[in-house]
Amino acid sequence: MDLVLNIIISGLISGSVFALLAIGFSLIFGVARIVNIAHTAFYMVAAYCIYFVTHKMGSHPIWGMVAAIVLVTLLGIICYKLFINPIREHEGAVLIATIALAMAFQEIMVLKFTGTFLSVPSLVKGYFAILGVKVFYQQLLTFCVVLLVMAGLWILLMKTKLGLAIRSTAQDREVANLMGINEARVAMLTMGISVGLAALTGAVVVPLTVLEPHMWLHPLIMMMAVVVLGGLGSLKGSFLGAYILGFAEALVVFLAPMGAFLKGSVALSIMILVLLIRPEGLFGVSFEEER
């Protein structure tokens, strides 16, 4: 029974993290056709930002969260304006520009905080027990925040004018432009939202993980797997795919021998199996190739 509960908790947490990351990633991909490898690097920067505010400045973690989200969103927009926007027409160049950005962030963090493993205090302390299994309040908080943000994002995308602009730009950039949508501004705003989501994810999840400059690699891979599994540009797909892979990881870690080594492999194998049956992902629409 303990095992089952542990698997459920761990699956829900990692699923939520992957879901938020994947939604941000597929938003900016949909709108601006940018494969943002640096997406999880922003998540890492946000986590370090909290560490800085709580440990070096001694403030309350909530200020750390606020600072992290605001600063990282700004950083994302600045990086977009400086490095990505000028070369947006060249797909390959954008790709390695984001890889280089991620590497640069990683190196800056190594310089500033060294490569040692760090940890951050939880926002809310304590835990309660269900059937003898500890559930930390921070885990509950992470899960609730993720659900709330997801609901907020859904309202933003479906009910507001900005959401309409984002969705129409994702569908057809040129026609959206003809309809009077400022495509460049929408792309920039989307970049802001996307990076903001990454920062938020980093902010809520950092007390549950260890902080190190290479922490962006594993989520990056899982996030990409989620996006492909769920179907690019589909929020529902990302949501479901994230929980499928999150639970797959948790199951492997708790049940299989050498699970910690195999967790990535098994989750990714599931993705490939799904792709063999449905090449466009679970909820992706097989749209005509842009020619």
């Binding site: 991909f29 494969v35 490898i37 490095f83 000028p86 070369i87 027409e89 060249h90 390959g92 160049a93 790709l95 390695i96 520009a97 890889i99 280089a100 950005l101 590497m103 640069a104 990683q106 190196e107 800056i108 190594v110 310089l111 690699l217 990056l220 891979i221 990409m224 797997a225 996006v227 492909v228 690019l232 050498m258 080594f261 195999l262 967790k263 990535g264 492999s265 098994v266 990714l268 194998s269 993705m271 490939i272 792709l275 063999l276 090449p279 466009e280 992902g281 190739e289 020619r291």
Partner: protein, 346 residues
Amino acid sequence: MDLFLFYLRKLFTIIKKEVFVLPSRIVVVLFFILLLLLPVFTKDLYLLRIFTLTSIFAILAASWDLLSGFTGQMNFGHALFFGVGAYSAALLNKYAGIPPWGTIPLGALGAVLSGLIIGIPCLRLRGTYLALTTLAFPIILMGIVFALPDLTGGELGISGIARLAGSRVTDYYITVVVMLGLCTIMWKITDSNTGIIFHAIREDELAVRASGINTTRYKLLAFCLSGFFAGISGGLYAHFMRIAGPSTLEVSMSFQVVIWAIFGGIVTIYGPVGAVFILFPLLEFLRFWQELRMLMFAVVVLLILLYMPDGLFRWLRDKIEKECPRCKIRNVAMRHTCRVCTAQLD
């Protein structure tokens, strides 16, 4: 004697009429000569080691270009081929006792097999889907490597492999000659009919299929060819470093290849090779700034891309040469008329 003189004269004519007319061709010839003569000028072991590694990675970057640049099948998991080549060469050498000249081609065949295995599911995907899916394969293999520590040495890798050759200079000559040979073969492949079909698949797959060409077969061929060359570089790496570790399968390895290739300019073969010969030694010579090394590397890549998004070598080539508007033959930028059809160059 006459025959010899005839060929000599022919060689001279070719050099005069085909090589010396374009600065880029002169540079390529100089590059070949310099690389082959380097050990004559310096016996510095460290320098030779850097250039040996550079040549190994040059093969890898060029093989990425053959698959992803020409066919447009964005492969983010190129480390898979490299790792399979390295690991199979190492395993064959350690457990079967086959010498390097046998393990490297066999390792490359292993990489071809892995190219087939990943190629078949990936043929149904395109664009970003393909890129993100291929990223998964080296990580899956890495999980398997970690899960079988008895066979693969787990995190430490397989060490104690036979050396490539007796001395550093011989190592250098083997890798450089193999690199120059393989890159010429790759360049020839891309210049052949097959290469033109690869290029066409990248531009418009539907049109190629409409012309009665089985694109699936050609895409699979591209995966296999690229896997073969990358596997050879993996085998060379394993025998040169005398270790095949999980670092050959890392995500950063795959990203590194993409950076090299795009930095130099894709769809060229010479671009990625040149980029490796600039970036890899640069990274080594920046070692006196140990902490700032990777940061400097990232910044250099970012800044160069900002000004030359098509890649460094294409930008350079467009500066010193221009294309004739009528016959599409390249000319030195200083000329006013085309060297073949005498049309006005703008």
